[in-house]
């Protein structure tokens, strides 16, 4: 093509007479004229030299013209080559700068390799390159995926074991609650288990999964914050300040606990061991701000920038393989969780000299304390609702406590009257807890007392009194069967009149023995329970119906 064009230009210019013929023609004419003009003596040399010169000039001119054409053709050709080269260079640049990154990005996003390839427009050779790149990237992504899945899978298994163990430890703690030495050891094991659990949670989060267990109900913020404290080594250094009375919705409980635990861990780890770490939660316009302030070394502006960068980077997704040899999981985990659940995290210098981490929980993850915060938050709170259903059950068929009745429904949120009822029926409430806890703390005194002989008089008198009150501590319960009638209302009313002072008679008895007079207390409390009790009895009997 280029050749054709190169040959075309000279042809068009020599259309009338080839230019190079002019000098030989002129020479020929000049020779002819000279031959006519010169005298005859000079004619012979002219006739010889003229044509020869003409022929030589013609040949030289022809050759010069041919070369000229050739040079023009060649320079045209080289220009074309250069243009092609530039075009190819541009295409290669496009491939490297635009096409390849786009393809890789799309593959990372999860597009199928075939789709990506089909949508590309590029020269065949480049497509070939792209095809092999796509193959390589896909293989790498598959490898990474399976590695990540393996991570998460293992973390899940560890989490399951840790959870199981935590539950068993809680049972053991209940069982050995009266033996402080054993109990102390159990607490230490419990703590260690919680630390393992946090590590497993971190790995799961970095692998793109949820942390740990899921909660189907809202949990008070106070419990959440203590839950976070449970999972760090130096929880004793954390000072928990007053917290507004709100709860966190179930789905956000575990992520929030985990994010706070990581921040607390950072705070305790990077501050001197004798300093305190302050943990507070305050209401802000956009939700609740949880502040973690430590008195450690202040972060330099550069370190702070790095940390915040790390948080940001984590929000865009983290590669487990990129974490390095001694990974600092903390901020990465926090960033990941923040991104997934909409927490806002910022790190600032603290007034105490250390770092002040603020985590803002958005409004939509917060609810008013859904659970009637009965007797206490958290563990203690579960006892509030739990005791109520069992109260009537206990009354109706008194001697046999029903472990099955209260164990399955530990958190009956449907009984708002529960805390009040439980609070005023100590003896009845104590009874169901006894079968739940194998240690049976209330019965313990009975077995121990005979050893300490002289207290016996106290013990001996107990049954006499309890037969009248009809709802006693576990040891008194054995004498109770006669008292409670089949219909629950009557004993309830009866109890309202004289069963309201479950500990009172004992107090009076003891104060009588020790010669003290605490007349004020019984007088003050004697009326209170009665008023609270009577409205309670019907609801209690109603919930008994539900229970059975």
């Amino acid at each position: 093509m280029q050749r054709v064009r190169a040959g075309a230009s000279p042809r068009s210019s020599k259309s009338p007479v080839p230019l190079w013929l002019l000098p030989p023609l002129a020479l020929a004419i000049a020779t002819t004229i000279t031959a006519l003009v010169v005298p005859s003596t000079a004619l012979l040399p002219v006739l010889i030299a003229g044509p020869v010169a003409t022929v030589v000039v013609a040949i030289a001119c022809g050759e010069a013209a041919r070369r000229g054409r050739r040079i023009a053709a060649l320079s045209d050709e080289s220009a074309a080559w250069q243009a092609a080269l530039r075009r190819q260079e541009a295409e290669t640049l496009h491939l490297a700068d635009t096409l390849l990154p786009e393809v890789v990005a799309r593959l990372r996003r999860g597009d199928f390799a075939e789709d990506v390839l089909a949508s590309l427009h590029a020269p065949e050779a480049h497509l070939e390159v792209l095809r092999s790149v796509i193959d390589a990237v896909t293989a790498e992504e598959d490898l990474r995926d399976s590695a990540q899945r393996a991570f998460v899978n293992i973390a899940r298994r560890v989490q399951a074991i840790v959870h199981q163990q935590a539950q068993e430890l809680r049972e053991m703690e209940d069982r050995h609650g009266h033996a402080p030495d054993v109990f102390g050891d159990l607490l230490r094991i419990d703590h260690g288990t919680a630390l393992i659990g946090r590590l497993a949670d971190s790995i799961a989060v970095l692998g793109g999964a949820r942390p740990g267990r899921q909660w189907s109900r809202a949990v008070p913020l106070y419990s959440v914050m203590r839950g976070a404290m449970s999972r760090i080594i130096d929880y004793q250094r954390v000072e928990l300040h007053s917290v507004s009375d709100i709860a966190v919705v179930g789905t956000a409980v575990e992520p929030l606990i985990h994010a706070l635990a990581e921040l607390l861990d950072n705070a305790t780890r990077y501050s001197p061991p004798q300093t305190k770490v302050h943990l507070t939660a305050v209401d802000v316009q956009s939700g609740i701000a949880v502040e973690i302030e430590d008195g450690g070394v202040s972060m330099s502006e550069e370190a702070r920038g790095r940390a915040e960068r790390m948080l940001k980077q984590a929000q865009q997704g983290i590669d487990v393989n990129d974490l390095g040899e001694s990974p600092r999981l903390g901020l990465a985990v926090v960033g990941r969780l923040s991104q997934a659940y909409g927490f806002q995290v910022s790190l600032r210098p603290s007034a105490y000299g250390g770092v002040r981490a603020v985590l803002i929980v958005p409004q939509e993850l917060i609810t008013t304390a859904a659970q009637p915060t009965g007797l206490a938050h958290g563990i203690g709170a579960s006892s509030g609702p739990r005791t109520t259903p069992s109260v009537p059950a206990q009354r109706a068929e008194s001697p046999a406590p029903q472990p099955a009745a209260q164990v399955p429904g530990p958190r009956a949120e449907s009984t708002p009257a529960a805390p009040a009822a439980a609070a005023f029926e100590p003896a009845a409430a104590a009874a169901p807890a006894a079968p739940a806890a194998p240690a049976q703390p209330p019965t313990a005194p009975r077995t121990e007392r005979p050893v300490t002989g002289p207290i016996n008089p106290v013990d001996d008198d107990v049954p006499v009194v309890t037969e009248r009150t009809a709802n006693g501590l576990p040891q008194r319960r054995r004498k109770a069967p006669a008292a409670p009638a089949p219909e629950p209302e009557r004993p309830a009313a009866e109890e309202a009149s004289d069963g309201v002072q479950p500990g009172m008679w004992l107090a009076a008895f003891q104060s009588g023995l020790s010669g003290e007079t605490s007349g004020a207390a019984p007088a003050a409390t004697g009326n209170g329970p009665r008023a609270d009790h009577e409205p309670d009895a019907p609801s209690a009997s109603a919930s008994k119906g539900n229970e059975q």
């Binding site: 203690g380 530990p410 006894a434 005194p445």
Partner: protein, 120 residues
Amino acid sequence: MNSDEPHWDGGGGPERLYVITGGRSGSSAKTTLDLVTLIVARSGPRPGMQPEQAAIVRICQRPLSVAEISAHLSLPVSVVTVLLSDLIADNRVFSRPPVPPAKLPDIALIEAVIDGLQKL
């Protein structure tokens, strides 16, 4: 995230017992608290109190034994003991220990008194 992930729920709050007691097990503190020691609150719960302590103060408006408190809160006795010793140290509650054996009058003495009275 996935439905096939384990759904753990039920059984306790997120906090563990060592956080409630601040790591103490009650073994070091030689308290006079017994299972039958009666506890009475001096005043109502204050804001800012640890919830468990507030709960103790609330239910102890009338005297309750340590064992009963433990059952109410579903907390092991050791935990309750630790919480109570804090409350006692803060003068929020006062405890009424069971009558120590030494304070009980000697049986022989009572018998002597009875004999003396009968002889009157």
